[in-house]
Symmetry: C2
Subunit: 567 residues, 2 copies
């Protein structure tokens, strides 16, 4: 039997569903399941059916070609990794519950790789001894594992997923900057070829460590990231990465601090209502425990604390909320009436830059049912450290030009980092420099969510009828539909064979006993870019060619169809 480029729906493992799966919340999850691309194997763990595997392979191919084009060398590292290198960098512990850990039969500790910085660092340490062996960029396309607390959104956030991860190694900072720039350009080409709408935004470094870092975000309702976009200048950033500068004001004219009775006002809402002031006039003091020590976080009463930013600031220490038991242990902390002016040395006080020196606030008086007003930062209380910790809101000023920011949801599809020497320091990666002395190597790490990109594409390109793939990524170039009668099936198979012979990737719906309506609906759902129907004018050799995206249709002869689809 020869190679069979014509894929017949009558044989294809791709059961379509009319209804959304009960647990699906986002569009890509619903459609990829309904169109028979993926199936759930366990929470956050997915199987790729034939159509899905083809799309995934197409994304892989584009990524591979563009990585090869920047001189990156493909390797394949294991998923099952020994503990020791991750101990050396501290990530065995820092990764917390997100890391899948296991023991082998001899009791040795292993993990399932969430990313591979450590192993690549050791590989280069083994392979490269001289500055002449660098620079080098290595990459792999491989399954990664992260034990997400709440796996959701189908393949958008799974616990096992396919990733392209690459790592650059250089002796000099300029080399790292160049490797970073080459990745940035390669990513732009990759996402353009994939047909993804994306933005490049400033990002925090997360658990990776390191300094310069940008994210490639694909705007989509289903996204878990929020990014801010300035309508006036070129500023764009993940909201987690936005930091406002501290701008002190003159608070010398503020009257002296005054305590005021405020019975039954333990929340900002009850306090503001009782005093007839704005929430923005009050100072909210959130108590958290950082590695067990209590820390108070001060923000304007109308703003939410971004716990992610707090965690990021204190990492690798763990941050927890205080509990009833903590208040019971500390009678000096009066729940609902905490104020920074009476915390003393036993509690570290961090505040958002909006609580700048000289600003005056209404805040707790550290007594039940009592607040204080005219509480001035720097006069009545000291801030141990200013940290930008509030959740950014639509309309907040652009840190660059002051214009009100626009917020959007997006899917993180790529991430590039200048790691610097964090991993090289931990694992002692040196090469001999030109002067014969050891030089510590500097690294970058760069990721693309390959399986996630499939979901992002589905999110961005789908319409009410279903999926709608760009040509380079689609599981086939044309979906030939045999309306049903024997003559129509014959014509459909004939044209499918001719198209395949001309190098066109063909999916043909040759199913018997399935109504034309169901076949048309399935073709729309599956989302191959061109749909060619052998219908009522089949006897004359006339088919209908429909563009899946625009919906435009026209009648064509077999020859026309072949000419058009091979053009």
């Amino acid at each position: 039997m020869a190679n069979a480029p014509v894929q017949r729906m009558s044989q294809l493992m791709a059961k379509t569903l009319r209804d959304d799966p009960a647990d699906a919340e986002v569009l890509s999850h619903k459609l990829l399941v309904r169109a028979g691309y993926v199936r759930r194997t366990a929470a956050g763990i997915w199987s790729w059916l034939p159509l899905g595997k083809k799309v995934l392979a197409n994304v892989e191919r584009v990524v591979r070609e563009e990585m090869d084009a920047i001189g990156a060398q493909e390797v394949l590292l294991p998923a099952l990794l020994p503990r020791e290198p991750y101990d050396a960098t501290g990530r065995w512990d820092e990764y917390g519950q997100e890391l899948f850990r296991l023991k082998d039969r001899k009791g040795g500790d292993y993990l399932l790789g969430p990313t591979h910085e450590e192993i690549f660092t050791l590989l280069v340490k083994d392979q490269c001894t001289s500055y002449k062996d660098l620079p080098v960029i290595l990459y792999q396309i491989q399954s990664k594992f992260r034990d997400e607390a709440r796996p959701r959104a189908g393949i958008l956030r799974g616990r096992e997923f396919l990733m392209k991860d690459s790592y650059s190694f250089d002796t000099a900072d300029e080399g790292l900057a160049e490797a970073y720039a080459r990745h940035r350009e390669a990513y732009q080409r990759i996402f353009a070829r994939l047909g993804l709408d994306y933005r490049i935004v400033a990002a925090t470094a997360g658990a990776m460590g390191g300094s310069k870092s940008e994210e490639f975000l694909a705007p989509a309702e289903a996204g878990e990231d929020t990014f801010a976009d300035c309508p006036n200048c070129d500023f764009a950033a993940n909201t987690e990465a936005i930091n406002y500068a501290l701008q002190p004001v003159d608070g010398s004219a503020v009257p002296a601090l005054e305590e005021i009775p405020t019975p039954a006002t333990p929340t900002i809402e009850t306090l503001a209502a009782s005093l007839g002031v704005q929430a923005a006039d009050t100072l909210k003091n959130l108590l958290v425990k950082v590695d067990g020590e209590i820390v108070a976080v001060g923000v304007p009463g109308d703003r939410e604390v971004d716990l992610g930013k707090v965690e990021e600031h204190f990492a690798p220490a763990t941050v927890e909320m205080v509990t009833e038991a903590d208040f019971a242990d500390r009678p000096d902390l009066v729940r609902g009436y905490v104020g920074p002016q009476g915390l003393g040395e036993k509690v570290t006080y961090i505040a958002d830059p909006r609580v700048a020196p000289g600003t005056a606030w209404i805040t707790g008086a550290n007594k039940a049912d009592t607040h204080a007003k005219n509480v001035v930062a720097g006069r009545d209380f000291e801030v141990d450290e200013y940290v930008d910790v509030v959740v950014v809101q639509e309309g907040d000023p652009c840190p660059k030009c002051g214009t009100g920011l626009k917020l959007d949801r997006a899917i993180e599809i790529g991430h590039i980092f200048q790691l610097g020497r964090k991993y090289a320091d931990a694992l002692k990666l040196d090469v001999l420099g030109q002067n014969g002395k050891p030089v510590r190597v500097t690294m970058g790490s760069y990721g693309i969510g390959v399986s996630r990109a499939v979901a992002a594409l589905a999110e961005q390109t789908a319409d009410e009828q279903g999926l709608c793939w760009p040509k380079e990524i689609a599981p086939a170039d044309v979906h030939v539909v045999a309306a049903g009668k024997a003559l129509q099936t014959e014509l459909a198979l004939d044209v499918a064979g001719k198209l395949a012979a001309a190098g066109v990737r063909v999916l043909v719906d040759d199913r018997a006993g399935v109504s034309p309506g169901v076949k048309f609906t399935d073709a729309e759902l599956i989302g191959v870019p061109q749909i060619l129907v052998a219908g009522r004018r089949s006897a004359e050799g006339v088919l209908e060619l429909k563009d899946r995206k625009t919906g435009e249709r026209e009648e064509v002869s077999v020859e026309d169809a072949i000419a058009r689809l091979t053009a």
Copy 2:
């Protein structure tokens, strides 16, 4: 930067080594490490460097093309799998210590897939509802995990390895037989294209269950399997799969059983020497515990018991050797002097067919320093069950024609199984039959060790100089060596560029400061099929083309080289 098909050694991550790695025992391990194809990440866990990854990808491509050609559909299932389906089939326990088990953050039990029968069965249960949806063959190329007790031999027996596994689903036994036959043919094509010397032999089914099963074995010194080959007929089998028929003899003329004093003869050797008989005249009784119950295994004194066969027979029960403590508990079992004639009902006695009814033996008398002679099977003792349990030896008769068998070592590179309904029964996989009633599905499972095939190829094709790949699998078509001078490097890069433009995969050794001798040695070690040297006649535009395998060399012009290499 355009796609760069010329791979430069000056940039390639492939550090060659002059010495064998200290822990390497087998040829492929030594050479794949020395030539810079793979590196060890942990015991039995390997990283593929760029050259190794290319070879692996070439094997994958051949496997993919031939699987597609038999109408198999490619999917991708996760490696991280939930416990429940493996509980349903009993394999969660049966797999024993070989299975990597782990818990997620919520305490749920997971495993790393050793093979995927359960998950594929559930997938088909979800996707197929009618006999019209079958037959179907699904496959994937994916990392598998097995916690080998003694990972050894480099990538020949790793704990994480790349496998092609496929599964067929049919309603009728004839369909299964056809899917099996198609796989058998596809495997023949695959291994022929890979350039592997292989044999197809009868195999035991191992932990898979099921009935008909054959192995594809690549003869090699480093192999862990032993297979028997008949020089006279077409019989070939894994020695573990050989079973001899029971052939009773007439023992009526044997005198009555007689006990004889045999002081200090607890072993077959001491007994045979003391009595002046052959070991083959004595009956050896090995004691084992099967799920804690003592079982005696009788074989001729000159034969070894194959514990693998014993385990296979009693699976899924566990088989252990008896200990001092067991003898202490059982005074009726006299160590070194056990005989089947006095075991009573408390010990099950199984025997090899060579201990056929009517045969007479010298064996233990169940008293210290005493044996018995003229002990006749079926007269003086009963055999509860005959099981072929001896280790097959060179010269044992062919079970088919009686000729003395030849034994060889080999690497298992493929395995095909007719599983039947074991998994479908456990997971209740039915489809509606033509008559409207549910039909239980029958399955086959088929594996190719993709990463192992790379090692097997290295074993079979390497010579004293190093690796020596067949063209289709090699990491490049030609290895261009620039002997060293600027003019030679210029010519090498020029011809490399022209070859690449003509579609030839080129590796060019453009390293500066490396002697020609080292470059030639590296080229032989790396094993690309053709070596093209820009050496002393470079000024005239004359190169030397060497066939890596035959060692034949001839002088060629640039045009000749291109013509020859693109032919």
